[in-house]
């Protein structure tokens, strides 16, 4: 199981703060595909080149490997400070 979190504007766009994915994804790119087939209207937001990903609270990318129990967060560019 992978816990997927959304933050910022992306959370509003997909209309949920989190979702659990039971299917096995070995990389972030594969997880995006699974999420896109579960929710086709999420695809443009997930494939947007500015969407960032963190795996277990560390910034990663499409190639970052995933294992069961990981926490994956998707979010737009940050705007703190």
């Amino acid at each position: 199981m992978i816990q997927v979190l959304f933050f910022g504007q992306l959370k509003d766009q997909v209309n949920t703060p989190s979702v659990k994915v039971d299917e096995v994804a070995t990389r972030v790119a594969e997880l995006k595909k699974i999420l896109g087939s579960m929710h086709p209207h999420w695809r443009p937001y997930l494939s947007n080149h500015s969407t960032l990903v963190a795996v277990n609270q560390t910034i990663g990318d499409d190639e970052t490997p995933l294992s069961d129990g990981d926490e994956v967060a998707f979010f737009p560019p940050v705007t703190g400070g």
Partner: protein, 156 residues
């Protein structure tokens, strides 16, 4: 000498933070501080209050990493970094960075570096209340440029 890195809803007292830096060590003759406030105008529209969201599990780790990256480049005494989250009104304080160093250049550069990285890498997002409704703040290209300048300096 112990760094203070906090993410909090409460306001902070600049005077008390300055005093904490000042009493760090006699070896450190420089203190530089920066604070960021909520403006009443941003990206072409008037702003009421602001909501700051963050990714709690990641935020503090991210701030610690930014301070460690700064420490790898310059010598500091004490570093204080405070970032607020939640609802903030116009004029309220959002962020504080202050640090001590033996020399002013390290202190100025360090604060600048920490702010440039914080603006582009720490997981905070601002939502503004405007006359046209709530709007998420878009990331600024200037902030990305400011952050990238540090990489270019490394290449020299």
């Amino acid at each position: 000498m112990q760094d203070v890195i906090e993410v909090q809803t409460e306001d902070f007292d600049q005077g008390a933070l300055y005093d904490a830096l000042r009493h760090d060590s006699l070896a450190n003759g420089a203190i530089v501080t920066f604070s960021g406030l909520v403006r009443d105008f941003n990206q072409g529209h008037e702003v009421g209050d602001l909501f700051l969201e963050h990714y709690p599990a990641m935020t503090k780790v991210s701030l610690l990493n930014i301070v460690s990256a700064a420490r790898a480049r310059w010598h500091f005494g004490k570093v204080i970094l405070i970032h607020r989250v939640g609802r903030l009104a116009q004029g309220e304080q959002i962020v504080f960075v202050g640090l001590t160093s033996a020399h002013r250049k390290d202190a100025f550069d360090g604060v600048q570096f920490i702010m440039d990285y914080l603006k582009t890498e720490a997981p905070f997002w601002k939502k503004e209340s405007t006359s046209e409704g709530d709007k998420w703040v878009a990331a600024s290209a200037c902030d990305t440029q400011a952050r990238l300048k540090w990489d270019k300096r490394d290449e020299r």
